[in-house]
Subunit: 299 residues, 4 copies
Amino acid sequence: MKVGLIGLGKMGLNLGSNLIDHNHELVVYDINSSAVREMERCGAKGTSSLLELVKSLEQPRIIWIMVPHQVVDSVIFDIAPFLNSGDIVIEAGNSYYKESISRYHKLKKFGVSFLDVGTSGGIEGARNGACYMVGGDPEAWEAVEPLFQDTAVDNGYLYAGRRGSGHFLKMVHNGIEYGMMAAIGEGFELLEKSEFDYDYEEVARVWNNGSVIRSWLMDLTQNAFSKDAKLEDIKGVMHSSGEGKWTIDTALDLQTATPVIALSLLMRYRSLEEDTFTGKVVAALRNEFGGHVVEKIKN
Amino acid sequence: MKVGLIGLGKMGLNLGSNLIDHNHELVVYDINSSAVREMERCGAKGTSSLLELVKSLEQPRIIWIMVPHQVVDSVIFDIAPFLNSGDIVIEAGNSYYKESISRYHKLKKFGVSFLDVGTSGGIEGARNGACYMVGGDPEAWEAVEPLFQDTAVDNGYLYAGRRGSGHFLKMVHNGIEYGMMAAIGEGFELLEKSEFDYDYEEVARVWNNGSVIRSWLMDLTQNAFSKDAKLEDIKGVMHSSGEGKWTIDTALDLQTATPVIALSLLMRYRSLEEDTFTGKVVAALRNEFGGHVVEKIKN
Amino acid sequence: MKVGLIGLGKMGLNLGSNLIDHNHELVVYDINSSAVREMERCGAKGTSSLLELVKSLEQPRIIWIMVPHQVVDSVIFDIAPFLNSGDIVIEAGNSYYKESISRYHKLKKFGVSFLDVGTSGGIEGARNGACYMVGGDPEAWEAVEPLFQDTAVDNGYLYAGRRGSGHFLKMVHNGIEYGMMAAIGEGFELLEKSEFDYDYEEVARVWNNGSVIRSWLMDLTQNAFSKDAKLEDIKGVMHSSGEGKWTIDTALDLQTATPVIALSLLMRYRSLEEDTFTGKVVAALRNEFGGHVVEKIKN
Amino acid sequence: MKVGLIGLGKMGLNLGSNLIDHNHELVVYDINSSAVREMERCGAKGTSSLLELVKSLEQPRIIWIMVPHQVVDSVIFDIAPFLNSGDIVIEAGNSYYKESISRYHKLKKFGVSFLDVGTSGGIEGARNGACYMVGGDPEAWEAVEPLFQDTAVDNGYLYAGRRGSGHFLKMVHNGIEYGMMAAIGEGFELLEKSEFDYDYEEVARVWNNGSVIRSWLMDLTQNAFSKDAKLEDIKGVMHSSGEGKWTIDTALDLQTATPVIALSLLMRYRSLEEDTFTGKVVAALRNEFGGHVVEKIKN
């Protein structure tokens, strides 16, 4: 099939190669022209503007957007005037499902179908077999299913239901991921503080063979320890890119108790701080009522 | 090798068959004589007392204990007087590592080696390939390694270090397992409360193919939903058998912040209650200061 | 001073009486005409529409809104066309500070000043001495300060700064309240589950005299137990009216780790459920890998 | 009454003065002889050994121990041989209730009564009016009640029941205190991170007058901010002295969900670390699957 791919970051480049491997015809655009050049070398047709990309596709067009969620609206705003009824927009980045629902309705007015697609599996998955969760109208889905069939790992895609359901599923997937990663991290922290002297790469290896917690994340844990046995060079600062927060925003909206995922998120925030105001207040209070010594900041 | 296997519950029976498959010679005992009969039919020599079991083995004996952790001390107390220097006791159940260290030292006085072995992989693993984490003296370990090599899945065993390190590792493994399971559960609860209508078996299937959270637990989640699509027949009461509690006991001892594992445990406790006193107090207080209506218990 | 008071619920009625006690002149309105009658009997001038209320006040008008946060926009929408430059609107209910900021800007366009006022102290406080946290323009504040001085407890009001700062402060106050109440509740739950046989009213009494945790909430706890020694008639269902959720929404926006307040909120949500899907999934998984028995729902 | 007071730290010295103010006759001992001198200047009889202290008292003796919980057993071990049937030992420090129960039984064998007393109110309370929670035999309690009546604040003591119930109550009191302090700290952290510019001393002041969260801890918060408006000199390191940990140990033993108190403890542990291994693992994993940049430790 012929696809216009917008966004050639880590995910977009790898997905592009994956699509080309499966004999799809690619027209690509990115604000970074060197990424466009790179895709051209793989056989894609590069373009130098969103307009040129849209014009290079025949109706009904299939446009696959793979950009940071902060930019999606701006991309859609730019291309929407040039789209026609029957065109299909696939948004396969990490967007908040409520925004996807709103985008679905906006494009619907132009007769354009919008599919919200959660993509998992990381960079490697994008290249060699991703995992997709798709929401939107079933007719649009059927029209583009081959793209997902070809670039997903076996059994690795699901048409999940109406608009929003794809990104909702991906959001919850990431929430689970946050919880799993935190659980693994806490486990290794206990090993690190214990009286024993474990070889963490070996621990991850054995846990990944036959144990109840074997998982791709444990596989990656083994990889990480194989490169840096005690992670001595790495700071424990845990950034986050939004999906964990949206999961908890949603949990609050739905009045759902999700303490494990919530704490995995809050501990990420905690890791961004060297010291906390909470800590200062509690330390000051302990001093006030019990005369407990306060640690002073040295200047 | 010739092994005395004590304890023929779900785990012991399957491990026994696994050992026999790999041509080990088994002498077995369990208080439940029908389990002994079952093992005899698989080729084991049954005994009708712990003493008989010990006497049926030649020195240096290898005795593998696979009983609930509450019973381990009683078994050891019963067999210790008949053991000789050089004998090796393998304790492969779920015991608290501090007790394992104490057992190691007690048996050491008799010249008997004690290996604390964490066994993971569930019943299926015990039968077809388990995952082992072993602590104890290296000489003892070397003498029995073939038993583990034969009954573990490939790459599925680790000699982790000195006494206690095996059960400590298994304990932390279970702590991680608690966290992972809670994260998965919370994720599906969000799906259940959402505006969407997901097919959970399909969700688990797609998450298990190519996604970041693919794992054996997700595989089992798919199995569970294949049997009961909405888990309508199952009560959400989450029992626990000790390892999660020990993990948090240990976290407190080591002054380690493990909020995700801790909450996965506390929510299990919460699930044992229909109503809570905390809730009653908070509801009463809201009524006191704000006149908020309290729900009354109907008689 | 002459004040138009809109909203005669539990809080509005008591505040109205408090204002009248301090010789302020009240014009009142509520959709519930019997509440209007009640205020008339206390000396207020009742009106039968928002328009009549506005018209009954001389410019510059002072209008005090005390309605549920869901209704504030509708009230403002209805009165705004009749307000004049120089009028002051006091919104003293529990509103989300972001909405207060937006209301401030909307009214500003008409030259109308908007003060966002957090009111604490419950019903009793509204009647006999409340606690106020006020945000908005300092000139508007100075014009109405006497109203707060008169109806607050000694030292019980604060001009906190620009628009939004009053409701933000009240929101955080309620977040702290959630945490404190949960801590008290959890403490009594531990007493209830202990081997001891405490008299909870006596416990609350002693904790309220000389201890570190003496507080108004502990005072109310004593009251509650004096009425129902074991809270046997009360269900532990903990409803919430929004402020705790906003606190955590805000914590997430500010990337702030507030686990104690977050958990106090999530446990309220948990209390709304008899059973959880999380629990079902975890119970099913335990059964899958370990053959642990699942509790079945009886029909 | 005549009392032997062992332990003249911050609490012991102030309690001693309080007892003397109320015309009790004091014999005192501390390993720190200058503390003994200080008490002598207040009218106590100093001694230079535990034996001398015991010998200075007539039977039936009343001995009040006010030492760190780690030292209690050693003190009791030293004095027990010299005690007689009918003597009463008051242990008013912060001990784990299980140890108090064991001490009760040990002393019982000698005919000596043991009262476990939780003391709250901090240093100031010890001096001017403390809060006491007392467990032990009722006869022993009645014999010494005047000491508590005299040195407690009005209504500030409770005979809670049998052995252990006093220290259990104090332990839970401290658990609640941990939760309350954390809630207050988190609230101020939200203020600190907000867009507003609050005067924290003023905030604590207004919250302490008429609000739902008015409390002694809020009073102390105001004090703390009055000395250091932004707590700029204080590190947010939150030490703990055992009672919070015991509360959670107990919650786990009783299978009680106490997430708020648990998290207040775990965040104290977190505050002891500059960086965490959990964080390193999570950061490494994010890099593994998503290519997310890891912050490196600079050397």
